[in-house]
């Protein structure tokens, strides 16, 4: 099967500005990207690069002002809220902040049951599915009756992943899904995501500012800068031998956790920025 699962073509997102004269803010300037079944595409960029907006556009949470998003050959940008709801068992999300992405006043059971009951699953069936989900993300089975505040950041992110998995989607947008986590939790959650992908064949769009994380989890990587994809290709090449100057700068700016390698990287970065400074006037 060579047809992509998701096909983003020349998507432009413009947020309306205040006032009549304002042309608004152009968050995405013609972005194209495709994701195949069972594949992880990493999307790297700094704040304001538009990487989160692209994820939100795919989820139907940001207005696509031109271009299109095809899902299994069907156009899904600009759907009505009702039509969009029907896609909830296909495309799901895991957000960055495990604190604000779970309603603090709802029990875990209610949070996980929500997408199920919205789809008309009955009590017993939903209960069994919730137990399955908790087991899938390695949370204790009594977790269901507790409130989000009783869990640590890493555990909350597991709950968010379980919610995303509830309807067995084919694509999960992970928006900085591990950025708020501690080092050891980060590695565990990434392992969990990879495992889930290997057993279910789900695809991920993995949005992150961290090149090392993206390199670790992605089959392919795209780099965003100021609302555009400046470089994309297979993960290893983009994250170790990038072609675009911005990606190079990004790579050299990320400190390596080894004092000697980092000293070398620092010198390379200084050399690169010297070169750029010389080139700029020309």
């Amino acid at each position: 099967m060579t047809d992509p699962l998701l096909d983003v073509r020349d998507v432009e997102v413009r947020y309306p500005g205040r006032g009549l004269r304002s042309s608004g803010f152009l968050a995405l300037r013609g972005v194209s990207l495709d994701i195949r079944e069972g594949e992880t595409v990493g999307l790297v960029g700094e704040s304001g690069s538009g990487k989160t907006t692209l994820g939100r556009a795919i989820l139907g949470l940001a207005p696509v002002t031109s271009g299109g998003i095809g899902y299994r050959g069907r156009e899904i940008s600009g759907l009505s809220r009702r039509q969009r709801r029907a896609l909830s068992d296909q495309i799901q999300v895991v957000f960055q902040d495990p604190y604000s992405s779970l309603n603090p006043s709802m029990t875990i059971e209610a949070i996980l049951g929500e997408p199920l009951t919205a789809r008309g699953r009955t009590g017993g069936e939903a209960g069994r599915r919730i137990a399955e989900l908790l087991e899938r993300v390695a949370l204790p089975s009594d977790a269901g009756r507790r409130l989000p505040r009783e869990f640590s950041g890493g555990q909350r992110q597991r709950i968010a992943i379980a919610r995303a998995l509830a309807l067995e989607p084919r694509l999960i947008v992970c928006d900085e899904a591990v950025s708020a986590l501690d080092l050891s939790n980060r590695a565990r959650i990434l392992r969990l995501l990879t495992e889930i992908q290997e057993t279910t064949g789900v695809s991920y769009l993995f949005v992150s500012h961290d090149l090392a994380v993206v390199r670790h989890i992605s089959h392919r990587v795209a780099v965003m800068y100021r609302g555009e994809i400046v470089e994309s290709g297979d993960g290893d090449t983009v994250t170790s031998d990038p072609a675009h100057p911005y990606t190079r700068r990004l790579l050299l700016a990320a400190p390596v956790p080894d004092p000697d390698l980092q000293a070398r990287r620092r010198r390379e970065r200084a050399a690169l920025s010297d070169r750029e400074n010389h080139e700029r006037p020309a």
């Binding site: 194209s32 195949r36 069972g38 594949e39 992880t40 700094e46 704040s47 139907g60 029907a86 068992d89 799901q92 957000f95 604000s100 992405s101 779970l102 309603n103 006043s105 709802m106 029990t107 059971e109 209610a110 049951g113 009955t122 009590g123 009756r145 409130l147 009783e150 919610r163 501690d182 080092l183 050891s184 980060r186 590695a187 990434l190 500012h209 090392a212 390199r215 670790h216 989890i217 392919r220 795209a222 994809i229 400046v230 470089e231 297979d234 993960g235 290893d236 994250t239 990004l250 050299l252 700016a253 990320a254 400190p255 390596v256 956790p257 004092p259 000697d260 390698l261 980092q262 620092r266």
Partner: protein
Amino acid sequence: MTQETARRRRAPGRGLLARLFANPASAVSLAFLFSVAIVVVLGEPLAPRDPNHSSLYDILSAPGGEYPLGTDGAGRDVLSRLLVATRVSVLAALLALAVSLVLGVAGGMLAGYYGGWFDTVSTWLTSLVMSLPAIVVLLAARAVLGPSVWLSMAVFGVILSPVFFRLVYSLVSSVREELYVDAARVSGLGDARIMGRHILAVVRAPIIVQAAIVTSTAIAVQSGLEFLGLGDSSVPTWGGMLNEGFANIYRAPMLLLWPALTIALTSVALAMLANTLRDELEGGNRSAEGRGDGEGDKENGSREAAHAPIRHGAEQADAGRELLTVRGLRVGYRTPAGITEVVHGVDLSVGRGEVHGLVGESGSGKTQTAFAVMGLLSRGGRVLEGSVSFDGEDLVTGGESALARIRGRGIGYVPQEPMSNLDPSFTIGSQLVEPLRVCLGMDRRAARARALELLERVGIPDPERTFSSYPHQVSGGMAQRVLIAGAVSTEPALLIADEPTTALDVTVQAEVLDLLRDLRQDLDMGVLLVTHDFGVVADLCDRVSVMRSGHIVETGPTREIFHRARHPYTRSLLDSILDGGGARGPLAPTDRKGVTP
């Protein structure tokens, strides 16, 4: 489903009624309001006589005997009138509440959730209603619609609805931005369900509190109108009885007492209930949002209490260069259950011109250690034991006066969140100039010149413009440079930086790290760098201490820690690092097709 819903309902408001009854003020108010409610329901059958039957033989008879509370100027039984009036007055006030609730809450929810034209129109209407003087409108309504208490209270409900509209509108517009609402939308929930389950839950508590206040306002205004004689005299109400009593104030002063007492007690009970409800409902929510980081770590704390840190090499690099020496530092917080210790005996030292990294995961106590050094622990926290010696002076025994001398001049501080550490209402320049004038006693002109020099020093391209900008006008990276400029402006011997680059993009982080490295070199400054990022440690630090659960588990020169870590925890942290690991590689070599750029 019903079982699940019931459990969910119970979970957030667990024991609210029990908590209200535990508080004497709300218990008394609730008991009183409950008896009022009984009178409202049973008032008419309970009344011994017809409230409107006047007996000309018994005009203004004293309380006792046939008439327990006496009779009024028309010879009507006061007790019967009071019982029926309670029913009418309270129900009319509840009508006002119901009207304002329906209009205000529904309008506020729809306007806040959907925005758009409905938002514009309803906000405009709300402002219009708010600008109308309530009493004039009520008088006009009476003139047009007649003297019905129900009609006037329905109109009053409309006048009160902006109270709920504004409240709900502002709450809903902020909740709408929460990620869990987005997640619910992606989960396929309909708008009605999202509003019912996620948004109503948040606005519920403030609405209940506001409802108690609005009801008591409605009772007061209604009584006022009736007291002025604008009501329907055939229907007994509290205000009407007040009017009647006032007319006979010289002949039977007791007549005023009964309606006045019920009005006052009901209003006071509602106000007291609103207050305690606010404390219980909203106070409870606040603690519910408290983030439970590191709770799991506490259990490990005692298990490891006996471990001494693993030390690599000599502790102090150069004799005579000591700057900061921390010995056996224990930090605790007062909690209702006693004192919770978060730092259990930490030894630490920073030499002049040395960068010492304090590494650990969230909840490890690294920030608490740094704060304790500066004497900036948040409320309830204090140093339980140990010494912090800075340049030969003990900051723990020296107390606030020693700290005040040291802060700024001796120790500079760079916080994690640049934006929340700049005061939004002052220009960056004035925030930089002030410490220079206070700490170094510079005059305005010299301080300004120095501040501009510092801004240039930290790599800000247009110092003049940044100097006169407000914090919201500069980017996060610029704000962090400004804070660093402020921290080093007094040329402190020691800089304490708490995750100084965590909130920044990597390219900006690299520049800020370069800046810190240069400053350290130029000013021979010692730096205590709190971080969770081993990349930052590798880049900048000379020595590293690894913290876990309030203990330092391992300490030594950076290279030693990276290459010869001995503590299992340090090793597990280093193993979790993803950098330098292999890439995942393409999905299927046969299906290799680049992403269209």
